[in-house]
Point group: C2
């Protein structure tokens, strides 16, 4: 009798990759896991439905009226929390920029065969919910608790391991990061694909920490060894490297590509003249200190309008004097710790944390079209 696990191992389906060519699996992932629409970066808050998605398994069907988050194993005062109870707790609304840890993976060579993000794995929403730390205190973790474990209702295989998606944080981190248990996005109940009815938001960290469709919260006396914590989401120099955990979002910026596009290639066309280029920059929990706009080898400093909170992206703008010819436009942010985006992608075995500068090819005409 073969188990699901055994069948899986006979069909691993993890091909190697070739720069600039993508498999059907990658195209399916790219279409299912929607990315940012760059011109919508003009909005402070990403329009609902245009926020990026990264769904490891299937979107679960949970009944908002019945689903509960169980503060269970390892707590001295276990309880279940439904949506109505969550609404009665102190409410906060915070703008948070989330970015997928794999954003930019398509630029790493050779890339890991996974979701082939170019630069679309980012978005900003206003999340409404309650701080998680007081709820953990209320449940009272048993003495000797090391990790608080968060498990979603989404189940599947990854790297041959069947599991529900799960992540952990220490109690100190939950308080320090201002982790939220949320039920609304942009003033409306969470959409099914964004974690309804309740999910975590971990401001400043890559999206893998903000567990969707949260079902159970547990306190455990050892470091959590779940696949998505101990094996995936680690910076590694080679596949066997134990690596370092992926945590805070690295400094990054994007621009709204100027001019008008060509349908299939997305190349840009403008007439010569002066244009305002606008974009966004973010750096996890640190404020953005500076954004530079690059034309060829020249970099000029952009105007920066900081966000109200470091967890949300800042707006920047610059005037571009577009001269006839073909140009590569770039943008580069620096955070208050002095970290700057690299021009070339840094190597990572799984393609995590690539914060290399965006490059936009623009053709500037001398005349009018």
């Amino acid at each position: 009798m073969s188990t699901t696990r055994e069948i899986f191992e006979q069909h691993p389906g993890k091909p190697s990759t070739v720069d600039g060519l993508y498999s059907e699996h990658e195209v399916r992932l790219a279409n299912r896991n929607a990315g940012a629409i760059l011109e919508l970066l003009r909005h402070d808050v990403t329009p609902t439905g245009a926020h990026y998605l990264l769904t490891h398994f299937d979107v679960p069907m949970l009944d908002p009226a019945r689903h509960k988050v169980s503060f269970g194993e390892g707590f001295e005062r276990s309880f279940d929390l439904g949506l109505e109870e969550l609404r009665q707790l102190p409410q906060v609304t915070v703008p948070v920029t989330l970015e997928c840890a794999g954003n930019g993976r398509a630029g790493v060579s050779p890339r890991n065969h996974s979701m082939p993000w170019t630069e679309g794995g980012v978005g900003t929403s206003e999340w409404t919910g309650t701080p998680l730390a007081p709820l953990i205190d209320r449940a009272r973790p048993a003495d000797g608790t090391v990790d608080i474990v968060f498990t979603g209702a989404d189940e599947g295989f990854d790297s041959g391991t069947r599991h529900f998606y799960g992540r952990s944080l220490s109690r100190d981190r939950i308080a320090e990061l201002g982790v939220l248990l949320v039920h609304e996005m942009n003033g409306a109940p969470l959409l099914p694909q964004h974690g309804a009815p309740m999910r975590l938001i971990v401001p400043g960290w890559y999206g893998m920490a903000s567990v969707k469709w949260i079902s159970t919260i547990e306190a455990i006396p050892t470091a959590y060894q779940g696949l998505q914590q101990a094996k995936n989401y680690r910076y590694r120099n080679h596949p066997d490297d134990p690596g370092e955990p992926v945590e805070e979002i690295r400094v990054k910026s994007l621009m709204v590509p100027p001019g008008i596009p060509d349908w299939t290639t997305r190349s840009r066309y403008v007439e010569h003249g002066r244009y305002e280029i606008v974009g966004r920059a973010w750096a996890g929990r640190r404020p953005v200190a500076k954004v530079e706009f690059g034309i060829g080898e020249e970099w000029i400093e952009a105007m920066l309008s900081p966000a109200t909170v470091p967890s949300a992206w800042a707006k920047w703008s610059v005037t571009w004097d577009a001269k006839p010819g073909e140009h590569i436009l770039r943008c580069r942010a620096t955070d208050t710790d002095g970290n700057t985006q690299p021009v070339d992608p840094r190597w990572d075995a799984a393609g995590f944390g690539n914060n290399a500068v965006q490059q936009v090819r623009v053709f500037v005409s001398a005349g009018t079209s």
Copy 2:
């Protein structure tokens, strides 16, 4: 002095394609033009934000308080219509299934280098607005009018031609099809990426007819020769074939893939046993007559729950007795005119109208995992 047009022609960027391998342009399009999330087919109405997108150019930034639709050229009583005026006209709310004409393009060999849809280019929303025909009557098209032309605010290059996206319909067709000028989707104002503040909905036709970000409506005395009407969106046997216009949606069906997925390959895994398989079927303006569910070479008829209107998809379900081993599951709909989905994709030079049956690979284990 080179014009934008001349620069474009030096950089056509339209590579040939290889089955199963995709270019970076295609991956970018797949990520930007979000597709259906198949498990959300359980919902009668696609959750907002999970409806497919096909944005030819950029999403325009239009101010809902100021934008007007101009009933201009070719009308005897020209007028401009703003959002507030539209809201005061008779309102209807209709569920409509929209499908991209290029849905299934990735299954056509060789495929056109364009948006590489597998099966995700479909969704159903409840659209609120007013019937367009009385507005056309009110504007009074000049004698000898042949076509009514609809132009959006979205501009770009396609096939080397710079233009605002435009389509046309005859007056008779506008009335016959029940075309709507809408401002709400699922009870909320249109999202920017779905055509805000006003768009057309053409029930029963592929999505290219439902012009988004509509700006001008004109009456012309000749057949409209716009690129997206006369050159694109035509069924052609070879690139030089004048072809036939793409219009009504062909009969099609999709299932929610059973079991749990593998993250990157989306292969499905279930334990042996009996499962309810659910899905959707639609056929443009015609009701769906029958849906069959296929396991290997065997086809069994599914239970069909018709939609309230033919323009919205019907729900179907069937019990699957999952036996250990590897299976290809398929579904096949037939409409009331007797049209049935083909098992193999039909050839089209641009990959339009591919309504071949969906195939889902499932591994069934004999034991438990």
